[in-house]
């Protein structure tokens, strides 16, 4: 659970997780095994198509949630089930406590339910003097330890067999060893007696099917079947987001849910309960069944044009499985009750701003969660939006507000950068790095060397060196972004050389400024919108075939976010759509549009490996172009492990969470060094800054370069 009051306290909590070697190793192993398992489970299936079908069906269900609830209730009641509606968690818990009281139930067995975690149900039931036992193994373990789940599907993933062994020794009063097989058997025996003694069973529901009035439960252990069979009373607690019109909708989700959650094709048990079933422990031979359908802010959520997509979440937990930050710190720190990317969002809506305000800053915006979400939810965007909302309510921290103000004023921003060039002189080394960190950085930032500002920004070089192209095949505009303009102009110059040689006529609109992603990452939405409007005005979109940027982050932001940022300005929106259409990254342009050939380049030899920038591989779905260019450009490409995993830069993220950034970078560089390559190539100046800075600190022999630079060097 999230207890930190401010970012400083939150960072201390994160540091504790970073020091937990067991947790780190477990989550690392899991992250790697999960990717392979999932790929295998989905082999031969049209995953994208399936996900977009689920998104459409869940969106439709959300739009008619009221009607679906009425239909579900009518059908369930006709089959002898009592249906309740709870507006919030407290009400749901009170309803369940009352059912226990009315039916004279004292002992309760539960099958894992995230919704019950959300309402803190156990707490309220125990306060009423009821005995509650979780029966899902992981859930039982954390219940005994008085903890919350650290993963949606594997609640005790943070614990070792030794910790569980010690815990079971306490619980049984007998010495336990740490063999997992044995511990599982002990739990089996201990819990069997609990089922027998219980008079009430509580489950969640994965599906609430309106056309039948029944529910579906997805489990591996089989505890949901026992919980819903043995006790004479069964209560199922579910959010209104579980409502689906047809059985077909549930079967469709079932195709994705286990595959995305654990890489299983299906779980061991899927249980469909429709109507008040036979129960030989009840006087009339019929089980008393209650459905408690919970709102708790969900109906407001689905009315919101942007956040309604949250309703698509099927609680598979995959967003945590692929999150590089979750992998470092685990679920207790990367969530409140719900964990991972969806957890950051749901925390704000279900548990309030105070619980969410620190969490939402801990997204590195690598988009791995968005890429894998079973409901196609744009998770990173929603996290940023919540961050912005909280800023709006609470006000931004001063340095951040200043950056927003500076970025909005291009001339001031550029003047500051030029001044910085002189300011850094005493600390800048000849090799392009700053010798000592400027005062504003603390020691935690020393995991990487920082680059010096270039002598001549690209915009100044351009004025003197703009090439003349005689018979242009393409007319393009260049978008440099701040880093390539002021820090790494040589990357832009390299691109200009190859473009000019391929009959590409170029323009560099001088009024362009920072793309605005850094301020958006900080939740400064107003500044982000202003910068977008400025840049859109700077480009005469109609005059170009393409607008090219060598920065993957800029490209993805310009392409996907600009139309959204100016949505409320119809004139600008049209321009943004046209602008977005023309945005292309360097590698795709050179490889797919210019179609350069191997014969255009000299063989420089040497092994090159690659780091795929998040905003290129996921943001723009570009995978093959840069790797093909490396080969065409005269180098031997060697694949690096976890090539598409974030390097830990994340713009302002690395400033805010240097410990996390440094760990992500360490893993990345370990993998890079293991390839034995001499050169590390990538497609984003931000990644270059992070990777080069990290390798410099390590004293590594490996050179980091933009793909464009190698092509320019080897151009015949």
């Amino acid at each position: 659970m999230q207890k930190a009051h401010d970012l400083k306290e939150y960072r201390e909590e994160l540091r504790e997780s970073l020091d937990n070697d067991f947790l780190r190793t477990t989550l690392d192993n899991f992250a790697v095994a999960y990717r392979a398992g999932r790929a295998n489970a989905f082999k031969g299936m049209d995953v994208r198509g399936l996900i977009s079908d689920i998104a459409a069906s869940k969106d439709a269900a959300a739009a008619e949630a009221d009607a679906l609830f009425a239909e579900f209730k009518a059908n369930a009641e006709a089959a002898g089930i009592h249906v309740h509606f709870a507006k919030d968690g407290d009400e749901a818990n009170a309803i369940i406590a009352k059912i226990a009281k009315d039916t004279g139930c004292k002992k309760i067995v539960k099958s894992k339910s995230m919704t019950a975690e959300e309402t803190l149900l156990n707490h309220d039931l125990e306060a009423e003097g009821l005995e509650v036992t979780e029966t899902d193994l992981g859930e039982w373990i954390i219940q005994l330890r008085h903890e919350g789940p650290s993963h949606m599907v594997m609640p005790a993933i943070h614990l070792s067999r030794f910790q569980v062994g010690d815990l079971f020794t306490e619980v049984t009063g007998k010495k336990q060893d740490s063999e997992i097989e044995k511990l599982v058997k002990v739990a089996r025996r201990e819990l069997r007696q609990k089922y027998i003694d219980a008079d009430m069973g509580i489950t969640g529901a994965n599906f609430a099917v309106a056309e039948t009035g029944g529910i579906g439960l997805v489990t591996n252990e089989g505890n949901a079947r026992l919980v819903s069979t043995l006790p004479r009373v069964h209560v199922a607690l579910m959010g209104i987001d579980k409502l689906l019109p047809k059985l077909h909708d549930a079967l469709r989700i079932l195709k994705v849910l286990p595959r995305n959650a654990t890489g299983q094709q299906i779980t061991s048990y899927v249980t469909w309960i429709t109507g008040a079933n036979e129960c030989l422990a009840a006087e009339d031979g019929k089980k008393e069944i209650h459905y408690v359908v919970l709102d708790n802010g969900r109906s407001e959520l689905v009315k919101d044009p942007l956040f309604s997509q949250v309703n698509r979440c099927v609680r598979c937990g995959a967003c945590a499985n692929v999150c590089p930050v979750y992998r470092l710190v685990g679920g207790h720190k990367m969530g409140h009750i719900y964990i991972g990317a969806i957890g950051l969002i749901l925390t704000y809506f279900f548990h309030g701003k105070d619980k969410a305000k620190n969490l939402v800053q801990n997204c590195i915006n690598c988009e791995a969660c968005k890429d894998i979400c079973a409901g196609g939810i744009d998770l990173p965007r929603l996290i940023k939006e919540i961050h912005a909302r909280i800023m709006e309510e609470d006000g931004s921290p001063l340095p951040q507000k200043l950056l927003g103000t500076v970025l909005k004023n291009r001339k001031l921003f550029h003047t500051l950068l030029r001044t910085a060039k002189w300011g850094q002189k005493p600390v800048a080394e000849g090799d392009g790095f700053i010798r000592h960190l400027p005062m504003i950085f603390s020691k935690e930032h020393s995991f990487r060397a920082l680059p010096a500002i270039a002598k001549t920004p690209f915009r100044d070089w351009w004025k003197e060196n703009r090439p003349y192209v005689d018979k242009p095949k393409y007319r393009v505009a260049l978008f440099s972004g701040c880093v390539q303009d002021f820090v790494y102009p040589e990357q832009m110059q390299a691109a200009v050389k190859v473009f000019a040689d391929n009959d590409v006529e170029m323009d560099y609109p001088e009024a362009q400024s920072c793309c605005g992603l850094p301020v958006q990452m900080m939740g400064e939405m107003k500044a982000s919108k202003d910068v977008a409007a400025q840049n859109l005005k700077a480009f005469n979109t109609d005059a170009y075939d393409y607008i090219i940027t060598l920065c993957a982050s800029c490209a993805s932001h310009l392409k996907h976010n600009y139309p959204k940022l100016v949505m409320d300005k119809p004139g600008l929106k049209l321009k943004a759509d046209a602008f977005s259409e023309k945005i292309i990254d360097y590698s795709s342009f050179v490889n797919d549009v210019l179609k350069v050939k191997k014969s255009d380049f000299n063989e420089s030899g040497g092994k090159a490996t690659y780091h795929a920038p998040c905003h290129l591989c996921r943001g723009l779905d570009v995978h093959d172009a840069p790797r093909q260019l490396i080969e065409k450009g005269g180098m031997e490409y060697v694949e690096c492990a976890e090539e598409e995993v974030c390097c830990g830069f994340g713009g302002s993220f690395s400033m805010k969470f240097p410990e996390l950034s440094s760990e992500l970078l360490r893993k990345k560089l370990d993998n890079v060094e293991a390839t034995g390559a001499d050169v590390l190539l990538t497609d984003c100046p931000g990644c270059v800054m992070q990777l080069r800075g990290g390798l410099k600190k390590r004293g590594s022999w490996i050179k980091v370069r933009h793909v464009a630079e190698v092509l320019a060097d080897n151009k015949k």
Binding site: L137, V184, E190, Q193, E211, E221, L254, T271, W272
Partner: protein, 208 residues
């Protein structure tokens, strides 16, 4: 290969991937012999595998005393077949029951059932069990042995959707998709079979 054979093959492949033990037999009589044989080969107190041998609390220990003999439960078997099974089981010294599962919550050795449908693309059994006795037999047994006629195998869950709906509409209904044995990976993500439900799932494919 005919499309039917292809379905059967796919079903077997997928079921075995999740550790189900699949055997093809000619008919129900052979299935019965399989069950008797399996029960005979089981250790005298197979409950050991379910944790009786572990250091469990005194309360949980007491539950083990409830079981004296090997038990086969077959609550939903056709009358004729049950009669035959019951007679043979008695001869072999096993207890054979078709009701009273609540007296055997400590666990039984074998639950012997039949599935309505098989789903090839996941190796899943669709077992409709509105009867509590049948439901419990599939859950508290250490080995669940389930018969499935080859002709009842369908390609995927969409192909059984209509049948499911027909059954669900005749409420009350309690239906299960069963795929492999009960499993957990909750401790260190290490797979362990038989956590609350059966330790083994035996699927007997019958020719028809």
């Amino acid at each position: 290969m005919s499309s039917k054979e292809a379905l059967v093959e796919k079903f077997i492949e997928k079921a075995e991937l999740v550790s189900a033990k699949v055997t093809t037999l000619a008919n129900e009589d052979e299935a019965m012999e399989y069950v008797l044989d399996l029960c005979g080969k089981k250790e005298a107190c197979q409950l050991l595998a379910s944790g009786c041998g572990e250091a469990i609390s005194d309360e949980a220990e007491a539950l083990c005393d409830a079981k004296q003999k090997k038990v086969i439960a077959a609550p939903a078997l056709k009358k004729e077949l049950y009669k035959k099974l019951s007679a043979k089981a008695k001869k072999a010294g096993f207890e054979c029951i078709d009701k009273g599962m609540r007296e055997h919550l400590a666990g039984i050795d074998i639950g012997f059932t039949a599935a309505e449908y098989g789903v090839a693309d996941t190796g899943t059994l669709m077992v409709d069990c509105p009867s509590e006795e049948l439901r419990l037999a599939t859950m508290v047994s250490e080995f669940h042995v389930c018969m499935l006629p080859k002709s009842s195998i369908r390609a995927n869950t969409y192909a059984v959707e209509k049948m499911m709906l027909t059954r669900m509409r005749k409420t009350p209904n309690y239906m299960a998709f069963i795929t492999g044995a009960s499993r957990t990976a909750d401790i260190e993500r290490v797979l362990a079979l038989g956590v609350h439900g059966p330790l083994e799932l035996h699927i007997l494919l019958l020719e028809d």
